[in-house]
């Protein structure tokens, strides 16, 4: 659907290979994920009720997922009563059409946007460009990747694949005038200067939403830069795009989840800016948009209610799973090829883009379980990845070589006598390929021996040796 075109043509393995060869990328990934991991650990250690909060967060999400229709209808009633217009989009194309229509009806020339992964998911940047509308990303990291013409590589830090030094080079070319120095503070000032005029001149501001509060009809944005407020307040029209799973019953529930979200994402206790947007400007309000539109997007989510990926609807998009993922930390976000990278993305991308083109993602995981361990809403990510593998096997998407290999192995493993024979022959054959204790090259096992040696097996299997021992014991008087 909205995956970048290029990712369809280049395989996951090739993208991963390119990423692995990029040492600067590795430095950038290590800096950000390393800091995130350390800060999260400190934040969790300083919050003795973290486990209880996690259980509560999970229960809140499970409750709303079980009563999604009830809360969404309540939200629509209250949001409408507050003066907002609620739109329903069943998929990405419908969402794009609704938003583009609002922009064109308003004759908008300039749109500011605060960071929203849902906007990426539905392909909003391309849709606005196609409609001839200038789009300005106001989140600092989104500003960076907009200048670079790139997609986000992380759901919390979209530009984390770029080092500070690379950003300095980019700003030198793209900012007018260029920043006077390349220390972070001067670079941030330069970006503020670039963005300020756009904030004030925009016709429409588009934001995402971290929470949709059913009993007030408010949408909540959280940022650390304040750009969401500047995106949503000055323009005449504010458009909110949100996945339907963002619903919570009350503000208190939103705050319960926010405690988990911030600690898991950045290790902070609270975001710098936490804003509840409830309807457009009312009579007597000092500022605010004249129109507020809320586009509620399904795009595969209701399908997940009834299948094995239901628990993924709990996700609050904190990014902890990718920060703690050994694979993500080697290849970064772009190699995944979808809107959402890392472990959570490997569950979601097949939902959004189909399994046939993304079957590598659930397979490219060691099943080490660290993602589930840090997930603030206890999503059993490895179990969900395994569910994709099961579907992939059933749908015969796995490569023939693997199917044949597993098939032959299973025929043997289901027959202990034959398996024992094959093992005895196998270890003797394997010994022929090695010298000393190691095998450095082995036909058909290049995946192993390209990078590491294989211990040469002992001459006889355990079972042979054990049986000989037992026979010896038995023969003694």
């Amino acid at each position: 659907m909205s995956a970048p075109e290029a990712s369809v043509q280049v395989s996951f393995k090739n993208r991963a290979k390119t990423a692995l060869a990029d040492r600067t990328l590795k430095i950038a990934i290590d800096r950000t994920t390393g800091t995130a991991e350390a800060k999260r650990a400190v934040a969790v250690a300083a919050f003795p009720e973290f486990q209880a909060a996690r259980a509560r967060g999970r229960a809140i999400k499970d409750h709303v997922i079980a009563h999604l229709d009830h809360y969404l209808e309540q939200f629509e009633r209250n949001a409408t009563a507050s003066g907002a217009t609620v739109h329903w989009a069943s998929d990405d194309a419908e969402a794009r059409a609704i938003i583009t229509r609002i922009c064109l009806d308003a004759k908008a020339k300039l749109v500011t946007r605060s960071k929203s992964m849902l906007g990426e998911e539905i392909g909003l940047p391309h849709a606005l460009a196609d409609a001839g509308i200038e789009r300005v990303e106001t989140d600092l990291a989104e500003h960076i990747i907009q200048l670079a013409g790139e997609a986000p590589s992380h759901i919390v830090w979209p530009a984390m694949h770029r080092t500070r030094e690379q950003v300095a080079e980019l700003f030198k070319i793209a900012h007018h005038p260029p920043p006077s120095a390349d220390d972070p503070a001067t670079m941030v000032q330069s970006a503020r200067r670039e963005l300020r005029a756009k904030f004030l001149g925009a016709d429409i501001g588009i934001s995402g939403s971290n929470f949709l509060v059913a009993d007030t009809g408010a949408t909540c944005t959280v940022t650390n830069e304040g750009n969401a407020e500047l995106t949503t307040t000055p323009p005449r029209i504010h458009i909110v795009t949100a996945g339907i799973e963002k619903i919570v019953p009350t503000t208190a529930h939103a705050l319960s989840l926010l405690r988990l979200l911030v600690r898991s994402a950045t290790g902070g206790e609270l975001t710098q800016y936490t804003t509840f947007h409830c309807g457009p400007k009312r009579p007597g309000d000092a500022d605010g948009p004249e129109e507020m539109h809320i586009v509620l997007v399904d795009n595969g989510r209701t399908r997940m209610l009834d299948n094995e990926f239901r628990e993924m609807l709990r996700c609050i998009r904190c990014g902890a799973c990718m920060n703690h993922c050994v694979v993500y930390r080697q290849i970064g976000g772009h190699a995944y090829g979808g809107t959402y990278p890392g472990p959570m993305g490997s569950v979601l991308t097949p939902v959004l883009n189909g399994l046939a083109g993304s079957r590598d993602l659930p397979n490219a995981c060691t099943m080490n379980g660290r993602c589930a361990e840090v997930c603030p809403v206890e999503i059993p990510i490895p179990t969900l990845l395994r569910a994709w593998r099961i579907r992939s096997w059933r749908e015969k998407l796995e490569p023939g070589s693997l199917r044949v290999g597993i098939g032959i192995w299973a025929v043997l493993a289901r027959r202990p006598g034959l398996y024992g024979l094959a093992s005895r022959v196998g270890v003797r054959a394997l010994r022929l390929f090695g010298k000393g204790g190691w095998i450095a090259r082995l036909p058909l096992a290049g995946g192993w021996t390209a990078h590491r040696d294989l211990p040469r097996p002992a001459g006889r299997t355990f079972m042979e040796q054990y049986r000989a021992q037992q026979a010896h014991k038995g023969s003694r008087p």
Binding site: R389, W393, Y466
Partner: protein, 255 residues
């Protein structure tokens, strides 16, 4: 079940130990017997089925689950020298057979009796090795399945603390995956290599004589990488050290 002084234990040696490193199986028998168990090795065992399970091949995985259940359900306990294979029996089998009215209860009963060996020795048998001595420095890698599926962390360390002369050194990222992941390491060989390279670097920085871990798959991956890099670190399964076999050949050394 606890409190039984001489339980009958079925040892599942695991397919990798059977083929690659029998010494781990014999170490297990020795320690279990020292702890007072009557140990048997059912001949109908092959593999727990994890390669099929992790490849999405439920049918073959379920067949192997049933075969393993039938082979081991007569014992008081089933013990494995692998957190990964034990985790498959404890969590994988009940899930895999959940909808089978005959096999689901049998899977759950077997799961409740299944233990990784260091946790069995400590948590069930209250065992500590006696009179072990090894003059060496060692570092320990927490294999992921044992750590996160079965909560194995304190038990191997408690047992190793009984070995006189053995100095344990902390490993940076001790709870981070080594990049093995079963078939992952050959299917995504380049990514696995990048992960195990970082692991090997961390191990080398400890300058320990020995690397210890509780799963042969992870050990083969790390040992194979360390050897390829020319490192001198000797790699053993935890229970080989506990059984006093660390004076013998390490993984990749000829006996």
């Amino acid at each position: 079940m606890s409190g039984q002084p001489n339980p009958r234990v079925g040892l599942f040696v695991t397919c990798l130990v059977d083929a690659i490193r029998p010494s781990i199986g014999f170490s297990a028998i020795q320690l279990l017997e020292e702890a007072g168990c009557r140990v048997e090795v059912p001949q109908a065992q092959t593999c727990c089925g994890q390669p099929a399970l992790n490849s999405g091949d439920e049918k073959d995985a379920a067949a192997l689950a049933r075969q393993t259940i039938a082979a081991f359900e007569g014992f008081d306990y089933i013990v494995l020298p692998s957190g990964s294979c034990a985790g498959t029996i404890v969590h994988g089998y009940p899930d895999l057979l959940a909808k089978d009215p005959v096999w689901a209860p049998r899977a759950r009963i077997l799961a409740a009796r299944t233990h990784e060996i260091t946790s069995f020795l400590v948590d069930v048998m209250g065992f500590r090795p006696k009179g072990r001595r090894l003059s060496a420095t060692a570092t320990y890698h927490d294999s992921c399945a044992g750590l996160r599926e079965l909560g194995i962390a304190a038990q191997p360390r408690a047992l190793l603390a009984e070995v006189a002369g053995l100095e344990m050194r902390g490993l940076e990222g001790n709870d981070v995956c080594c990049g093995f992941g079963g078939t992952f390491c050959v299917k995504y060989s380049d990514i696995s290599n990048a992960i195990v390279t970082e692991k090997a670097e961390a191990i080398e920085r400890t300058e320990a004589d020995l690397l210890l871990a509780g799963d042969l798959g992870c050990l083969m991956n790390m040992a194979g990488k360390l050897n390829r890099r020319g490192a001198r670190t000797r790699c053993f399964h935890t229970i080989e050290v506990l059984a006093g076999r660390a004076d013998g050949p390490a993984i990749g050394e000829e006996g």
